[in-house]
Symmetry: D2
Subunit: 483 residues, 4 copies
């Protein structure tokens, strides 16, 4: 009988249905690499502190290294009747190396071991997510660069509002995702404390040195209090929250793309390599990818919500309910990476139909606000300018004219301040777009600054990632660390 | 190249990453049986209506029957590069039988096919859930029967309140679950309309008869409008909601068990076959099963929430976002069945420590309310009785007496209506328990009626299940239905 | 000092901040009418059972009737330093009538009183909601009737799919709301059990008759078990769930309207009485009402979620946490009634631009599916027909032709079965719409049946409402019930 | 007719029901101070940039200052038929000062105005929350200091585990709340960008200087892109998320207190000033405050969820749905401040019953883990030590002995390494507690470090608050800023 079962059953015999119902092994196999890294670091510390003899430590380390190598090669097979991946690793190691493996769990409990593995997992995921966010922002900035001269309407209330450029549009999407960089950096800051070394709940009397393990694993701090540590899943909440937030952003971008691809908008065309056609209706290029991206925000919110509910009302200390963090947490990395990499893949494969966007932007009086500001610049109070332009637009509409077609004679009837110069200054959507020179506005220089800033923020995100200790790098250093 | 890819790509070539990202096959394999049943019924109708020739229908039916038989035997292997299980089935059938299979999809789209498969799935799950609920209610009633003489305190604010019996306690849990029977019957009533036959969104011009298919599949109604049908997932929401509700009930029961197992309460002991001990602390019988049951309510709520978010704000008609219903929906059956069957398995393995419960119930003045009602029966207005008893309990407490120890001499100082008879009438917890003869109260007859009613409700639930068309039965009749 | 404070403080003196923090009076004032009705019924039962003398009962009843009359007239002022509305009513009554009021609370606790008031509240709200749903369905059916000849595209993936009529579109919305009728009827069935009479948790020893109270208040059943009763908020969950579901439906309808109002779709025009224009851009008719309707689904889901979280993990019995049901529950009626009545108000004020919808429906090959089915009817297997039509549509597209413009000569190159008759049969969107004669399809008769069914379902909903005991009617009968 | 109505109706006449349904005035009155501050800063910038003449600016400023003064005095009455507080302020100002007020809205739209007011609101709330968190952490640290010698069991699986001290327990709670300090600082960092100056969506052509406004309002950055700015509510999500997280922490603390107050645990006593007694059962000191604190986590999660759902799937740009952020957002400050200040108020009013906690900690073999570590220190591998101690505890239990009562003779039968010294070293809970000297453990020095760290973190939080620009301070400087 395996270690896990013996321990679990306290000498008795658990019903197999109960063991199966409570086992997390099918899920937390995904934590195998994290578990090996954690054990390597713990073992190194135990050896350096003289708690485990160096020869035994060497033996166990070789065993752990072998498991890593085999999992990397895809040849590792773990026992599948254990409670979780942590016991499965110890059982397999014991099968191979015998009794000395019993030294590995000294001054450690599964409570702090799980807390460590989960943090290592989230840290690794965050690094990947940050790289994907950086790539996405860069790509949006590049598209913005390329579409600086594409004119299209902006929308408020899904009604055409002021004219903008493609550069401005892509900058607006990228700006959302720069906030997500911050959110994932926050997750990293929250998980950046070593949990290992607090035992089951109360610490240990053995002469461990948590600072050694902390340093080996690249954490900045150690956790403050053991009881809090074993019951804490805040970093998991933060990770699922950050994911829900970024996927909401993706859902908004996707909604725009889906609408812009419709026959009615006709602003965007999907490449055949990403559109779902129909051999019956070849004009149909269905944006399934974007619909699924939009739909996946549901999963992200569901995972956040599930975790919040599981944690609600738990008493202090460790409760086994916490194991139910596995499914939402372990799904989340895949979910967010999937959506971000898909966005990055498909965005270069959508192109503007500039005839359609131009047609839309010139169909109405989109430069009306700009005209009002021309009046304001000539000294008219804003609310008065606003009323006069309103009256002019109405008058044009009644005559079936576009605002750009209003002549000074026609306009002066409404307000004599509509001189030839004033009207000319606001005649075209291009002028209006170019005129909004305020910071964050549509003017070419404003947009250039935005795109430059976005690229810088993406570079900063990449730079942050270089400071995150990655699992592969940790393995490389731990397999040769002095014992 | 397969049907699915050809169709999906509209002649172009989808990026493989896009196909993988959008494929639901890994999830909806779970719908294989439902899909085969649906196709059998559709085919039968097409043949009867003369839309598909009888010989072709016979050929295709044999093919579908073979797939069913192979899946039952575990020998079926479907192509894994299709978009979903529906296309995988058609592709496999085509591989085996060739062109005639092209007749099967006549007057059907994947939109109505998916809507059907999901309804068949939920119907099958509900049948299982109702049986499990019936078994659970019966077992709780049986435990109630067996624990009618077990005295224990009830709790309000987690403070001991009036005395009750084990019979009353188990009846209270069972009563929660009877409402869940109603909730799952509601799900069944909501899904009980055949969606098939509405085509992609607008119906069909072929001479189908939806009533034939309806009858073959055991639905009561057909859906009203095609556009609504393909975009409707209300039955899926209802199912995840009913599951969230029943798992909240399970979480409340589990919370009581966890508390009652603690050293401090000491009311319940877990059998070693279901408790997680520790070879170090053999007195520890950890209630992991109940903690995990409590924790799983998070998953249930997360699934409900995920589905609500996915559906929010979708425009009318069919949107591919709906595919994101698969994960929450297909997880839900397993989740709810797992928790209910586990509860049914473990409840017989917990036993009361009647010394500890009796000790708790007699420690305080738990019969105080009963005493006040004795006064009321002798003509004292309730608020006055309430104040006098309060004063008496306080006086006892100051003297270190239990309420049962108050003598008439002692009590009369507070209120002369505390005669010997009055005090005697309320002297014990047993009397108080037995005295609450009101319907729904703790009196033995009241509890007997409750347990009897619970058993009847469980029997009614079982009876309802006999009226639900099950997949196996449908297969048996469909494989031999006249074509 | 008031009753409430005395009771609450157990003789001690609560910190005023604590009383304020825990008081629900500001919220549950909304339950005043329900509380008076509940007290009138309870009092009547107590009197009939001889528990309260008839004269005292008469006195108290007059007091309760006076409070009702004053609240109806808007002249009632309740003390505002009580814990909740229930204590505020008793305190006010005591101030007016003195000691006999102490009889009213006999055989009742606030736990069962609250449970009753909340059920009465939800029942009353459900009645209103059902009437609003019936009115909405009727109106959608009437609009469907009026728009039977309006042709427009249906959408899948937000891409134009097959042609439909306005009649079909409105029927699809109405069909969603008929399911909500069922959901609110389910809520009514769930709450339809009198909770009063179970005391604080364990029943009572006084000779009450719960069947009398049940009958006076128009409930079908009494609750089964007291402990379950005082901790049960399933009916509240059901009500917030039904509301979340119906508001999701409203959000989908609203999303369509918002899109259809955009300049790009141009299908719908909002009347100036419901559109938010801008004096600057008079062409702008912003659909703010529909945006807010869409947005309010968030609140509904939030209320459901809040209640689920509050209930999660509570132990059995009564816990004060349950008081936190007030905010989500008492908001919900207002929320759902607001959205439904607003929809009913604004829908008649939107009109189709039939030129735009016709233009959209004829722009592409929307009748392609219909054409394939014409081939199928002539004996071509569906998948083959599907491929030929696909090839034809592609060929047309390459030539810049609409499908309707394909000549037999042109088409026969692709498939010789494209005869003149075949092409003619599928030439127009009108024909395609009319041809989908299947039940639930777009054919005129199919739609007529749908609209008729909808009107019948609305009538059934109205009929159900007549069987719901309403607060005003209960008051009328209770104020004169024999004591 | 007011400005708002005129603008809203675009010359037409809105149905009053529509105006009422869409108005947010009843909610966003709470933003009055923020709105005045924002207008003061905007006006100052306009004047400095020469966009508004200095005299007009002076006049309008005096008007704004008067409104502030009146609202502070509680004498301000705003029109109540406006769409929102922003229009109500402008309308009231216009009523007082006439046409020049029309200058105030130059280069501003309600979109960026609302975005500003909400950020100012959240910033102000965060400052208050941080102060409350600091106070709570300080108090928990102080309680920890005072309870360093109180021995009690820790719990895993709600079963007694290793012994701890009150100092360790309070440190564990405080540690949770230090993470919330970080979460609210993250909210502050996220909102710390001035949104004003982006106009409705596209910027402005007027020569504004956003840096001037930014500096006047104490923001670090300006927002990057106008379209993103008007549709962004990430800071609101972050605030509701941080609140949900801290209220989950509060719910866990509250659950412990509720359990510890039960008759069964008996660890804690509530002062009468915060307990809800019953004049009937004076021993009952109900922990209603803690139940309501636990319950309020539901509201917090509901608000988060509501906001997530409202934002899901919105297209880019500004959509009126965003207005539905008001209720969850404006409730959140009150909610979190209420719970934190209540915790701070009531915690000093709960006291330990040290007899009961000591009794619990010595009842079992709580020092078993410690004993195993004593063996490990003498050279026994951990898993072997673990098994021997397990066997010993079982043997004791069979004899009815506590572990502390095991003699060397008795123990040596199990493992001869159980010498007198070994057993003595692990004889008492005190020793075990004191022996866990690892960082984050229960040893006295470890706990002292924890408490010291907590106090430092609280001080840092207070320090952070000094750097947050507060509304009152902003008003003081803005009312006299050079124009």
């Amino acid at each position: 009988m395996t270690i896990a079962r013996t321990q679990a059953a306290g000498g008795g015999t658990l019903l197999p249905e109960v063991l199966e119902f409570t086992s997390s092994l099918s899920l937390d196999r995904a934590l195998l690499r994290e578990d090996l890294i954690g054990s390597l670091a713990h073992l190194t510390m135990l050896s350096r502190q003289g708690i485990v003899p160096k020869t035994a430590a060497k033996l166990i380390r070789d065993g752990l290294v072998a498991l890593w190598t085999e999992q990397a090669a895809g040849t590792l097979s773990l026992p599948d009747d254990e409670e979780d991946v942590h016991m499965a690793v110890e059982a397999e190691l014991t099968r191979r190396l015998g009794d000395p493996v019993g030294l590995l769990h000294t001054a450690r409990s599964r409570n702090d071991q799980v807390a460590l593995d989960l943090r290592l997992h989230v840290r690794e995921q965050c690094a990947e997510v940050l790289l994907l966010l950086a790539a996405l922002i860069e790509q949006l900035a590049a598209r913005g660069e390329a579409e600086q001269d594409t004119l299209l309407p902006s929308y408020t209330h899904r009604q055409r509002a002021q004219p903008i450029t493609g550069g401005y549009l892509f900058a607006s999407y990228a700006a959302m995702f720069t906030r997500d960089v911050q959110a994932f950096l926050f997750v990293l800051s929250q998980l950046d404390a070593l949990p290992l070394g607090v035992g089951a709940i109360a610490g240990t009397s053995l002469p461990i040195d948590r600072d050694v393990t902390r340093s080996l694993l690249g954490f900045t701090r150690t956790t403050l209090n053991g009881m809090d540590t074993v019951g804490d899943r805040d970093f998991a909440l933060d990770f699922t929250y950050a994911t829900a937030r970024v996927l909401l952003h993706a859902s908004r971008l996707a909604t725009d793309v889906i609408d812009f691809c419709s026959g009615e908008f006709g602003f965007l065309k999907l490449d055949t390599s990403i559109s779902f056609g129909s051999s019956m209706m070849p004009q149909k290029r269905n944006p399934d990818v974007f619909e699924i991206i939009r739909g996946k925000s549901g999963r992200a919110v569901g995972n956040l919500m599930g975790l919040l509910v599981t944690l609600k009302g738990l008493p202090g200390g460790y409760n086994r309910d916490l194991q139910e963090d596995r499914q939402p947490l372990l799904e989340t990395g895949t979910l967010v990476r999937g959506v971000l990499s898909m966005l990055t893949l498909v965005l270069p494969r959508i192109t503007f139909d500039r005839d359609r966007t131009l047609q839309a932007v010139t169909a109405d009086a989109s430069q009306a606000t700009f005209l009002a500001e021309v009046l304001v610049k000539s000294g008219v109070p804003f609310r008065a300018a606003y009323k006069s332009v309103g009256a002019l637009v109405r008058a044009c509409q009644e005559k079936g004219l576009k605002l750009a077609q209003a002549t000074p004679d026609f306009a002066r009837v409404i307000d004599e301040r509509f001189t030839k110069d004033v009207l000319a200054a606001a005649a075209s959507a291009e002028t209006a777009v170019a005129g909004n020179v305020s910071q964050g506005g549509t003017g070419p220089d404003s947009v250039r600054v935005q795109l430059e800033t976005l690229r810088n923020l993406a570079a900063e995100a990449r730079d942050e990632v270089t400071r995150i200790p990655r699992l592969d790098a940790l393995f490389s250093s731990l397999k040769e660390a002095s014992l």
